[in-house]
């Protein structure tokens, strides 16, 4: 039986924890607003880029297409890019991304393919290091960057391009978390190389005769690496928004649980306090009667 003082201390500590989780929830809510705004502002660019590439791709016949668009024709060398958050305390957010990536990686390994991994974000690196330490090529840590821009993702996309151009990767797949809504973030994958062509953007545009400066091939050579950066950036934006949403609901839960715990502890404390008072009264009364 804990003493009354112990119980008081315990209630105090739970209350302190509740204050922290409450504060974290509010900070996450404020940051979520900014993150979703950034994600939404980036969308038109990514969408236009995709439709331009789709319309270019539909005009270029198979043999002439750049390798980044058509692929090398091989599946042997898989490069997996796993984008997670740098921080935790967001429920199952990071774990869900890593689990999706792990399923993919294990399936590829089972088929005898050569899998290599690039991680973005500290949490993904920490979780994947335990399983695939020898397969991780590079870990990018973005915890120091406040605002996501193309300059931030440029080194990552350059590295991916280099891996591809030097023949160390045939297929590049990105794992991230898709921000559906505040209560739902879905781990998703996106094939970066060969580029995924949005079939809906392609339709209805091909009848116009375009002029190109310089040629279609040259434009694609320039645009495809840029598209890679844009895809990465938009995935990171989604991740960011998803992370704060996940953190917000995780902290909301934690705050609520702390509240319930405080209630239960308080009840227990009051009961034992009352029991002790009653006991003391009985002692005094029976002492007085004995006189």
């Amino acid at each position: 039986m804990p003493s009354l003082k112990d119980m008081r201390n315990q209630i105090g500590s739970v209350k302190a924890t509740q204050k922290i989780t409450k504060a974290m929830q509010m900070v996450a809510a404020a940051k979520l607003k900014r993150a979703t705004d950034a994600a939404e502002n980036a969308r038109p660019y990514a969408k236009r880029m995709a439709s331009v590439i789709a319309s270019l791709a539909s005009r270029i016949s198979g043999g002439d297409a750049p390798k980044m668009l058509a692929g090398t024709g091989s599946q042997t060398n898989q490069l997996v890019v796993v984008a997670t958050a740098d921080r935790g305390l967001a429920g199952g957010f990071n774990t869900a991304i890593v689990r999706a990536a792990r399923e993919f990686i294990d399936a590829q390994i089972a088929q005898g393919r050569n899998v290599r991994i690039i991680t973005i974000g500290r949490k993904g690196r920490d979780q994947l290091k335990r399983l695939y330490a020898d397969r991780i090529v590079e870990s990018h840590d973005l915890s120091g960057t406040k605002v996501l821009t193309l300059d931030v993702v440029a080194p990552i996309s350059e590295q991916i391009t280099a891996e591809f151009n030097e023949g160390r990767a045939d297929v590049v797949t990105l794992f991230y978390s898709q921000f559906k809504s505040v209560i739902s973030q879905i781990p998703a994958s996106k094939r970066l190389i060969p580029a995924e062509i949005d079939a809906t953007a392609e339709a209805g545009k091909s009848e116009a005769v375009y002029e190109y400066e310089p040629s279609e091939e040259e434009i694609l050579e320039v645009l495809l690496p840029r598209n890679l950066s844009v895809q990465l950036l938009s995935a990171l934006f989604e991740n960011n928004a998803g992370f704060y949403a996940a953190q917000m609901s995780a902290m909301d839960n934690a705050t609520r649980n702390a509240g319930e715990m405080i209630k239960a502890l308080q009840l227990k404390y009051n009961r034992s306090r009352q029991a002790q008072i009653t006991k003391e009264l009985i002692e005094i009364i029976s002492g007085a009667e004995a006189l």
């Binding site: 038109p44 116009a208 002029e211 190109y212 950036l233």
Partner: protein, 91 residues
């Protein structure tokens, strides 16, 4: 007034400009070019330089880097990795 050209200038951070204008002058890699309404479909990579948007006698100038222009029946789209507007541009 002549027919207007719909232009949007988009960067990953935001849509910088969107609207109907008289003329746009942009720095293509193979030389500066102007676009009016009903221009033939046209795609080009942009060199680093100024995109000039003219409308009703007013001019807005944007500094653009890492850009790409797509002109089609719906209008002109400029995708730029970096773009910013020159403030108080007088031409």
């Amino acid at each position: 007034m002549a027919e207007k050209l719909h232009v949007s200038l988009v960067t990953p951070e935001a849509e910088l400009f969107s609207g109907d204008v008289d003329q746009v002058v942009a720095p293509g890699v193979e030389g500066q070019f102007g676009v009016l309404a009903r221009h033939a479909p046209f795609m080009t990579i942009l060199a680093e330089g100024e995109v000039i948007v003219m409308n009703d006698g007013t001019t807005r100038v944007f500094q653009v880097r890492g850009g790409f222009a797509d002109v089609n029946a719906e209008g002109m789209t400029i995708l730029a990795e970096h773009a910013s507007e020159y403030l108080e541009s007088v031409h």
